[in-house]
Symmetry: D4
Subunit: 218 residues, 8 copies
């Protein structure tokens, strides 16, 4: 098993990023070995897309690892938390986008962000979004989560000047095609300066936000 | 040549639709033969997607056929015009959608609609759209033309109660993919009751509007 | 949970549409919260794509919510029903399209339509369709449900003059591709004025029909 | 150049098929070399998808080669024609399908078929097709050419008992996608026993018909 | 339930085809109703893609219905069998194609064909195929089943003169893409006169063969 | 013509963005009208994807508009330039990516950035990239341009901590598919925090960089 | 059952390849029959993609068959092992690629290779790869396994001169699309001379390596 | 211009590969600059996919550069040729594949291979291929070029034991899809150990062959 794991312990020093582990296609044995290595090295780690079954085994063996079952994230705190980075806004179109928004929230907590959630403000009823705009504009970075046609990202990008990141979600059916319609809509947005991640990549969007908002020195 | 043409002269009586000829892949000889048959039968006809070269030949031989070079439509008036159907609104996201909007306008004129154009009101700058809303709401049917991510259709559908038809346009590059991003966005709209046509089908959208708005009896 | 739900109570007043909830990717906790908010506000609601398991929990707690297990719809009646809109025809190609047709039927009931069902009249045996034509033509709007190659929509659109909406269904295998073959066939129909929804969007087709057929004043 | 050509002279004896040359991506030098080899061997040959420019060069050098500019076919008659195979029906949905129908017609002539053409009988106006049915049923094999949604093949297959072959054509725009919509529609036809060729493969359909209808012995 | 079923009892008389029922997306209630209607009418029927669970219920209630669990077909014999049509060859590339080959075999039995099976003769080891050629050539129609790259159809079509039908199977992984690689390979075959069905459509291939080989009069 | 143009003059005040005009599908008449309106309003504007032919006409009529023929950009300077935003690094994998890099450079100049170009440093020869790293790390934002497999973005993102934006280019053939391979590679990068734009969207990447780097107050 | 199996016993003599059985879509009865035939012929065999359930049945009946549950491979040793071929390097980007790497390892053992594993050396942290380079260069063939964007193959191919084979893995989500992003990235690599297999085809990559490295004569 | 070019002069020493320049999307100014730098450094270079127009300019200025107009390759000989590597076989299915085969031939000449061409040996007529087998087997590496369904690669791989590389070509129409059908067929080949390159990548296939066949020391 040991031969299969090769953590990039140098990454933190090199580019200031902690270890993020993609849990979906890892076996529980692999997850346990990673947790052990991080624990022994006194490092924090975030594990995304971990099923409840695997999470239960891991949490059982490591007392400093916690599980968020909506976000499907394990958070390992074998070291003090990161410092502060300021506030990011997490905005989603519909209630169904919540699990990916929560993955982003876990990542943001892990990296030292304050978060503010604006849920279910899709463009079918514009007023819900428009009345949140003054608050959303105060964030350092705005992350938009939307499935189906993903129009929320375009509309919002046209109303705010701060950095904005679109995360298409795999919500929808038919030609929504597991998030492809929302992804392509965000990539072709007529609003300028909207950047995009892979479908459902809530974690990656926050990692990008962390590049934009380095740790604040006290 | 004659063997190749088989006009559905019964259609008008059967379902109240005149002859609409798809010109793109027809030869100029075929177009001339169709014009002749319509002329001899004393029928009107609309020819879409006719190149300037082919149009010049046809107009040269038939004095009752006119060409709109932006819309790429030939309009043959071998019979009195249709009656009145009321007003439709033609709304487009950007200046690049104009040719398809004009195809719809030609079709609407041909079928007896009044038209009102609201151009370049894409969602990147919402105010442009919002201030047209009171006028747009007065139409009997609203047709939305948008390329790129096509978000205009979703936003507009959430603000009006009249029938609304989305026409994705082949404007854009990369994953816009010849209109596929806009088409899929419109089909997966989170706004309810938005109906959709094939990409760039300005003519078809108005044909559908004519089903909704039959000729008004005087 | 409350933070995750943001119902658009203004929609009814703005564009005359009640709340329609897409149930597929919502948790049962989210559905219960929505039902509670609608109940407290004295509003009706329609929930589509709700699994039997989730439906059982919801119906158990709300006596004014009913479940249709073929249509997979929950119908919440916390207010008097809508008024009358007239008759729509629901036409499907094969027996396998029934669940989507039933979703449309639930939506139509909810919105005040009378419905008439013409099932299993696919074009492989034209006579079945042709003999229904006189009846189908009496409807205010016709909705066609078809999977596989979806040819029924084209044939029918060529025979009737009333508004017609195609709903491709995800019935079929191989290149039917979850409804893509039927969708593309309907979008490229050689019959004029056929409008289309997303695959399996029985509910959306009726929402569009409601735009065409407003509530009849008595 | 000679090294590049390797004609399968054995094919005729092995499976009764003459040489068919796909001309689209061959250089004019390659076409000339092939014509020379066939000529020297006293063989007939059919060249499909040959541009007018290339055809002019070839016809200039070989007096027994003729060009059909609609079908884009060269027909080389360095030997007596094949015998008789009976009649096939060539049925197309619209005027735009004619070039592919003509390619089939050239191939049929070359292989010894009698042909009968039924053009522009698309399903938007069913009557045009229905009144041809008695004649179409007399053919030994029926080949259907259709672009856009290709519904003609399904409807026709449900009305006749003879072998029927669908040839999707690259006529249409948007999601017609160069014939993909028609191809997928034909492959997923609800009518039984419809067989299909590649898009625009008029020649191949007749080659298949020739397998079904061997040369009639006198 | 009755309203959902509309059997095409006229088909047999019209085009000589019995009822074929696509069972995949039908409920067991629908299957029972169809069986009842066929039984009462004294008709035979073939049901494809019926799961073992559904089949058990049906067979339990109808003594004249039999199930083939590899082919997933129910065969209802409420009338005397069809007459004779002669022999067809069923040739498959690998052992994994067997279930689709068996579906074809059931259909062939149902329609009055004699069948001969040539299994596991893929082109990776040409000798296996070459030594069957003399026998295969004796069939009236040859049906080839192949997944992965589907090359068997091309090779075989180049060696035989009788009608040949390719059935791509959904065997394979990665870019085999549920049979798409095999389908596209067969459609683009360099061998002439190969016709193709939808992926896994063993039944449809035999229905086409029945058009080619009508019932032999005694 | 005027009716077709509806500039969002409020955008600058609302979100600090100047007018960016997508020139590809606009007619020269439309471009002239836009230039006139900007000129009369005393505004700057950037026009992307303008062909040499159209550019010549526009530059001929407006002396304050300049054309960059590699970048295909027109830059209209009817007002003083923007202020300063600091330095961005423009890094490309191959010489073929230069036109898109130059579009970004034009946009950056227009918006007040200093730019530094690192060209032809693809990962096939890592040393070329590694020796630029110390310089690249000094930029405020790094934009990576790559076609083919786009691996440069992943490798670079793993070596720097500043914000990094990937711009897939339409360079390549076969499965490069007009930039799709590079786009998908960047979206699925194993390096964290890489954000992505549409294919060839050099302008949009810099617009996003401008959100991250607001104008520096003096 | 026997009729369904047709092993290519001649392959070994013809091209030096043993029997490799693709187990995914074979029934357990088919697997048992194959094992029996190999056993009776005194041949070795490798079965890939065999589920644990099927494997248990097979191993229970054949004592000379062993199962590797990570690789999902059965290895049948009814004959002495192959000779020696030298060393191949198996290099993977992430821990999630391990199952496919293990399939390759099983195949390599079966064919007489020595293997060396370099796991979890993805390009996000280049140092992990760079320090393995001297060792990797000693192999006769290098096989790279990578999912997501598959950049590891490009980077490695630029650093080594020995034959290198890329195996894209189906690891990833969203546009990773079951390995399509990695496959297309490898096919379009800017590094020269990288060859590619189907997604997840660990076995095939080693079979190709065996063509490059024939058995060493002693 | 200089800033845009960054040749990897170290590659030869690092992995024994000369400079290969992808000419398709490079401007003639860029090509001239590259030729100058190679010339000054006394290096050889191969430029692929160079149009006749660009080639004429380059050849005009550099007397040691030669152009092959079928292969579309420029070959720059500013240094002595490479040594010997032995013989490779270049096998193609049809005459239309010749240009890509010639690109490979140019590359092979450039790298020190002897080449032998086997053209037009597609599987529709197996005998043409079978009689070349004894000769093909003598090559050190075999490269197969095929468009349409690409079956030649599978058949050949099953008959030879030496390394074999498939190059799908963009020959064909309809679902051949620019080479995608052939590519997917080769990737899913039922023959073991077939490796594949991008569509039309004749050059890359030979670069891979050069990894397998290092320069022979005298």
């Amino acid at each position: 098993m040991k031969e299969e794991i090769n953590l990039d312990f140098d990454r933190d020093k090199r580019i200031g990023q902690p270890e993020i582990i993609y849990g979906e296609s890892k076996s529980v044995e692999q997850l346990l070995e990673i947790a052990l290595q991080l624990s022994e090295a006194g490092r924090n780690g975030l594990y995304t897309r971990v099923s409840e079954e695997k999470a239960a085994v891991v949490c059982n063996q490591f007392s400093d690892i916690e599980y968020n079952s909506v976000a499907k994230c394990l958070s390992q705190k074998s070291a003090p938390p990161f410092g502060e980075r300021g506030e990011i806004a997490l905005v989603c179109g519909g209630t169904s986008d919540i699990p990916i928004l929560r993955e982003a929230e876990c990542t943001a907590d892990f990296l030292g962000f304050d978060t503010k959630v604006y849920a279910d403000v899709g463009v079918a009823g514009l007023d819900r979004l428009l009345k949140c705009l003054p608050d959303i504009r105060k964030a350092k970075v705005v992350i938009v989560f939307a499935g189906f046609e993903g129009a929320l990202a375009s509309v919002l990008a046209g109303q705010i000047s701060v950095p904005i990141i679109g995360v298409p979600t795999s919500v929808g059916y038919g030609v929504a095609a597991g998030g492809m319609a929302a992804l392509n809509a965000m990539l072709t947005s007529c609003s300028n300066g909207l950047l995009v991640t892979n479908i459902d990549n809530g974690c990656g969007a926050v990692m990008a936000a962390a590049r934009i908002c380095p740790l604040m020195t006290k």
